[in-house]
């Protein structure tokens, strides 16, 4: 057998082309997603009042400005309060509803399902408009419903609750019902069993639901725009209203603070989740 090197066939160009395209696209997509984020973070440390590149002087003065302004910190407070409310309302409603669908026979099940899911497919403008028109001017005693935080919480739950429902529906499906039956067998009533046995098993789903609802509410501003007034306005609403007038790094700071609140939640969830995993692993 001759030991001469056999000639190499010409290298195919196509795989290289594809690899190059893939690389180009990766660069593009990373850049595309990161641009507004990076720009905001960078600009929040700008000293000047004008939004302009390049940044001449760096400072954290706008952060101080943000926390010094009652209007902005109130808006932040409103946002967080409403987000908590939304999380509580939508998670409770969603969990109970998902449990009902899972364990009980419900007449016209599909119809109810569509009804509960429907708000998800409605644009925020339409939902906000509907609630504003229906409840505008309505008062319970002295308390004006329109413009109240509670109304916004419920409005946000229109989006959050179906999502919690979907998530919990999937989660409940993974529950081993023999454990539930074991509880009944040992004498636990339905309510007791639900709280002591079922809820802990789906705790991850519940915590995820709370997080979902919280983030959705915190970031939402179209419905909030329709339903809040000067006292109860949320941070995103204030940002929107200030967009054309207060085009300063203050808005960048607000964006960063808003995002940090979300990440703070995420971190809490992550830590809680890791703790749960360790508990199970032991």
């Amino acid at each position: 057998m001759s030991e001469a090197q056999t000639a190499m066939p010409p290298r195919s160009v196509e795989p290289l082309l594809l690899k190059a395209l893939a690389l180009a696209f990766t660069v593009f997509i990373i850049g595309y997603i990161l641009v507004p984020i990076l720009v905001t973070v960078v600009m929040s440390f700008n000293d000047a009042a004008m939004i302009r590149f390049p940044i001449a002087v760096w400072s954290t003065k706008w952060y101080a400005d943000f926390f010094g302004s009652a209007q902005w910190t109130d808006a932040l407070k409103n946002s967080i309060l409403i987000a908590f409310g939304t999380a509580a309302i939508s998670t409770t409603a969603g969990v109970l509803c998902a449990w009902a669908f899972q364990r009980f026979h419900i007449p016209f099940r599909d119809g109810w399902y569509i009804l509960i899911m429907m708000p998800l497919f409605m644009p925020g403008v339409v939902l906000g408009l509907g609630v504003a028109i229906a409840f505008g001017g309505l008062t319970i005693g002295d308390y004006a419903i329109y413009g109240s935080r509670e109304l916004v919480m419920v409005a946000h739950s229109l989006w959050a609750m179906p999502l919690v429902f979907m998530l919990m529906e999937a989660t409940f499906k993974t529950v081993d019902y023999r454990i539930v039956e074991a509880s009944y067998d040992l004498g636990g009533g339905p309510v007791r069993t639900f709280f002591e046995v079922v809820l802990p098993m789906v705790s991850t789903g519940i915590v995820s639901s709370l997080l979902f609802a919280f983030v959705i509410s915190l970031n939402e501003f179209v419905m909030a725009l329709f339903l809040t007034d000067r006292d109860t306005q949320t941070l995103p609403v204030l940002m929107w209203l200030s967009l054309r007038s207060a085009g300063t790094p203050r808005l960048a700071v607000a964006s960063v603070i808003l995002a940090l609140t979300v990440f703070a939640c995420l971190t809490i969830i992550m830590l809680w989740y890791v703790r749960q995993l360790r508990k199970v692993a032991r």
Binding site: I89, P119, A259
Partner: protein, 301 residues
């Protein structure tokens, strides 16, 4: 207790239990139903009814019955342009989002596992940020003094400052950014249901990457593409903040008009009419998409 008494009390207990069992699900569903029926169902009906009311001078609305708002909607060129603009913008943005989302999901699906987490985190980012923060981010990118201009000049590609702010392109970029994560995750979950060996088998039998895409990937992901497209289309139809903030003042979307009629002109009936038409459009799209989905999505054996 006499035997009869025992039996009757037993029957009474059973029927009490049955009643409890029958009412239990409704009790559990009550909070959700309250929210949906009272805060969504009622307002929707109210809104439909409102759209037929009259609007006279400065009052929010005057009870009555008229079609004038709908007529106005479809005859006033201002409004019809807005409808067409909305549809056009939604169409183009959705097509772009699905295309970019598809490539992105494909990339993540084909790459080894260690990259996946990073890319998923990246794709999640726009979801975790408020739309207003996204708008503001692009707000600082496009104008004359924004990052884009600065970067282009600094790299020597252009000489004068350029502004892409208040252009349809800026609105388009913003819209795609917001809907991209949804498309990405929908498509990625579809891809995950496909056996990668099919791609190898296709190549093994002689298909070039392009042919593999057309013969294998496309048919298997077709439903996913439809779902992602309709999701994106529905969302962008109803949007108003991003296009109005980043686009030109002439870019009127239906969402913007609703907001304007409601908060600006205090014309509740008109705003309601817009909302009804918008929802009808969205519903139509959903129905059309549903009918386009074939039964072939049971292929993931």
């Amino acid at each position: 207790m006499t035997p009869l008494a025992t039996v009757t009390s037993h029957i009474a207990e059973r029927s009490r239990q049955e009643r409890r069992k029958a009412t239990a699900p409704w009790l559990l569903m009550l909070p959700a139903l309250v929210i949906v029926l009272i805060f969504f169902g009622l307002p929707t009906l109210y809104m439909v009814r409102m759209s037929f009311n009259l609007h006279v001078d400065q009052r929010l609305y005057v009870p009555g019955f008229t079609f004038e708002h709908y007529v106005n909607l479809f005859s006033n060129p201002l409004f019809t342009t807005a409808i067409l603009t909305t549809i056009k913008l939604a169409l183009v943005a959705s097509l772009a989002t699905v295309f970019i989302g598809y490539c992105f999901a494909l990339l993540v699906w084909l790459k080894p596992a260690r990259w996946r987490l990073m890319f998923i985190g990246l794709a999640l980012a726009p979801l975790l940020i408020s739309e207003i923060a996204i708008i503001f981010g692009w707000w600082m990118f496009f104008p004359k003094n924004g990052l884009l201009s600065y970067a282009l000049i600094a790299s020597g590609l252009i000489r004068d400052k350029v502004s892409l702010m208040y252009t349809e392109f800026a609105a388009f970029v913003g819209l795609v950014y917001v809907t991209l994560p949804y498309c990405f995750f929908i498509l990625l979950s579809i891809f995950d249901g496909i056996d990668k060996r099919l791609l190898e088998a296709s190549a093994d039998l002689g298909a070039t990457p392009f042919k593999t895409f057309r013969e294998v990937m496309l048919p298997l992901t077709w439903t996913g593409i439809l779902v992602a497209f309709s999701q994106s289309f529905i969302w962008t139809m109803g949007t108003y903040a991003t296009p109005s903030a980043l686009g030109p003042d002439t870019l009127w979307t239906m969402g913007f008009l609703i907001q304007e009629q409601m908060l600006g002109k205090h014309n509740w009936p008109m705003a309601s009419a817009f909302a009804v038409v918008l929802v009808a459009g969205v519903a139509a799209v959903m129905v059309v998409t549903r009918s386009l989905q074939t039964e072939r999505n049971s292929f993931h054996v």
